[in-house]
Symmetry: C2
Subunit: 458 residues, 2 copies
């Protein structure tokens, strides 16, 4: 066996040409989406006014195991993929751990994160269907940037509703999206009914992801030739993100390595769901049993403290309902919380796998997250996004446990992106002006009180 390199890049030919659909191997499927108007399971036609048709089909396709990636999407993947599988030699040394730490780094593209993998697919299918524009929302800005990039490439006009507090705090994120030709609107805005309503009720609100989703959906359904696209949570997004896990698996196989534990940060689940694909498949098929760990912020703990229940995907309650781990669509994370991972729910696929015991979850507090981020940056020369740093924290903790026990475990984690646009949070951490926040049970109860109550369902 030759020495394992610091970074292994597959060749262009080795980029997977199919996405992997986890649902095809699940023993039990996630419960169906429910149409709140009828109380019945959603069918593809219900989704056509909101999603483009191929994506609506992918959303509901529980059986096709592998989906061919269209050539036009492969063309754009090849501009920035494959992403490297990295061995964290320097971090291992700093920790003094016998563990072998690997990470799949998705930050080497302008969007700075893995979000581009699904943005390209969604922009492509929208263009293919002859749509003339799409809308979306963005919080921290990674998804908006990725979609702006993809829409620019496919010459598709895009409107992004950006959570107002991010819009104000991250003017440069907005500038990147505008550079790629997107229209960026601070949400809540007076351009939609739901936005005007929210502003009327609470004129000084900084907005929320759920509220921006409501605005983007309204704009899409009220604009001819337009549809809505979403960067996480959805089954279709996990499908597209499976490129991460498949590349990681191929690279690990080349190195003759198999992870004892696979770790990913989890907000809506797009990265984690993509990363774990082939390893979760092994687990579902009984071929192997690696530990799979979701890491979420202690301030927005949908898996570790949420309910497994039907809920709306947005604050405005205009989307279908999904059965998932949720804090309630009325839950608003503390403004103290830096970075993304602030969604009230969790991917229905991941929720089901967690519910059925295929996955673990841990929550971490943000000062410990940034401590790990700085340690990682100093050793691996990559400045991680705060979201990604949640996974780093858990990987470091795992490696430190190995140091205690002397076990040489193989750890694989997902490094979703870079933190160039999150320097304010780093600054707060460096200057000791960052604090932790964990919601009380009473605060969580308020969120649970916002869960919908549908006769015959829950």
């Amino acid at each position: 066996m030759a020495k394992i390199p610091h970074r292994l890049y597959l060749t262009e030919e080795q980029i997977p040409s199919q996405w992997y659909n986890l649902r095809a191997d699940m023993k039990e499927l996630p419960d169906p989406l429910i149409n709140p108007a009828t109380g019945k399971p959603v069918v593809a036609e219900d989704l056509y006014p909101v999603f483009c048709e191929e994506l609506a089909r992918q959303e509901l396709d529980n059986t096709t195991r592998y989906v061919d990636i269209p050539g036009e999407i492969m063309d754009m993947y090849q501009i920035y993929r494959p992403s490297p599988l990295c061995r964290a030699y320097s971090l291992e040394k700093a920790l003094g751990t016998p563990a072998k730490i690997y990470y799949k780094f998705e930050g080497n593209n302008t969007s700075g994160s893995h979000k581009l993998n699904s943005a390209i697919a969604q922009a492509y299918y929208a263009k293919e269907q002859g749509l003339t524009s799409v809308t979306t929302e963005t919080g921290a800005g990674q998804w908006g940037t990725a979609l702006a990039e993809a829409c620019s490439y496919f010459h598709l006009p895009l409107t992004v509703f950006m959570v107002k507090v991010s819009y104000q705090q991250k003017p440069f994120r907005k500038a990147v999206m505008e550079t790629f030709g997107a229209e960026v609107i601070a949400s809540p805005s007076d351009t939609t009914r739901v936005g005007r309503k929210i502003l009327e009720d609470n004129p000084s609100t900084g907005g929320s992801l759920g509220c921006a989703i409501s605005e983007a959906v309204e704009k899409a359904v009220s604009t001819p030739g337009s549809r809505y696209v979403l960067g996480s949570v959805l089954n279709q997004v996990l499908l597209h993100q499976s490129i991460i896990g498949q590349e990681a698996r191929k690279a690990m196989d080349i190195l003759g390595e198999y992870p004892d534990v696979v770790i990913g940060c989890a907000g809506g689940g797009s990265n984690l769901g993509g990363l774990i694909g082939p390893y979760m498949q092994d687990k579902l098929l009984g071929k192997a049993s690696p530990r799979i760990v979701a890491v979420e912020p202690a301030s927005c703990p949908s898996l570790t403290r949420g309910r497994y229940a039907y809920d709306y995907c947005d604050t405005g309650r205009i989307t279908p309902m999904a059965r998932m781990y949720t804090l309630g669509c009325g839950f608003i994370p503390s403004s103290n919380h830096a970075g993304g991972l602030r969604y009230h729910g969790m991917s229905p696929i991941l929720s089901k796998l967690y519910h059925d015991g295929y996955m673990e979850a841990v929550s971490v507090e943000q000062t410990k997250v940034f401590e790990a981020a700085v340690l990682f940056a100093k050793n691996e020369t990559i400045l991680p996004a705060p979201e990604s740093a949640h996974a780093i924290r858990a990987a470091v903790d795992e490696a430190l446990r190995c140091k205690e026990t002397g076990e040489a475990k193989t750890i694989l984690f997902g490094l979703t992106g870079t933190g160039y646009f999150d320097m304010k949070a780093y600054e707060n951490y460096m200057h000791q002006s960052m604090s932790d926040y964990v919601p009380t049970d009473e605060e969580l109860q308020k969120g649970f009180d916002s869960l919908p109550s549908i006769p015959g369902i829950q």
Copy 2:
């Protein structure tokens, strides 16, 4: 011949293990550095108070063709190198050109630029000598970030004098350097004699690179165990940056390609000098004659409108004098000018090669530079640094000429870094609030009036 991939990564084993010293193949050497105190050529001992010893030797070594890269430096290179050689298929298509456009992309590391290649070497040699701290200056911030990263890796304390106007306009650059543990001081500052003098004369000055150099040198020579390091202009820096050109050459050779023209942006010359190495060697040895083109901003045109003369490397006139193309050490670029490439002089090696006809130079105006940057970003999904975009502009112009003539030239350019911290300039460009500036002959004359006049030399 297999299809040429979008991005070609060499393997870890293929990373060159030696730097290439262009001077060893030059027919005529650059004129020696002059010690202003004695009027005599500088010897290594003259430099020891300022530079660490090995770097002083490298600075004056005109004969060693290949220099072994120490293992500790290779270890850190392997964390982020090799950098990819990219084929700009999408840009070519957008331009409708028969030209083949390649670029060597150095932006995939946290410092966001090629500067890390020399920062690692300089931090390593300083540590090796047992020094206890180093100082430097930074303008746009790429060099400061790279050095902070390298010093953090080698546990070497660093003080960065950051040009005040950048310090104020780019707080996040400062935050990155602080994250890596560097002390960052706005220049001019009251921490040095030269800084206090400048502030006394002009309390509201935004500072300049030359002035920050003076402060960093003063701090280094007045602090026991400290030395000064510099990210461009110097011969040692071109030596370390030769890793870029050697990797590019190896990758082009694998593809069976040879460039008709090699293009790089040029401020102090670190990137261009590194990129062109093996191709300039061919030219010096009469083996081939690719065109080699330096691209500089019209607002700071040292090669295209400067004088080939002895000048100080800093505004404070405390460094040795170098014979180079210069606008005069008193030249201050217009504040209208975005991004880096604002140094008054040019690498003595590149100056000599240009003077002797081995290189061409063009100057470009910044709105045309940003036009090319946006076109590139939309097609290649990399948001380029404004500095790098100077090279893109020239490469695009070359490709458009090929479109006119029908020639299928092979173009190679250096994409030095990413523009994440330059969004203010992109914003100005997008909102049409960016203008061009070309100094008048009278304005340039004022800079030339600041050139030193040394009896017996000039």
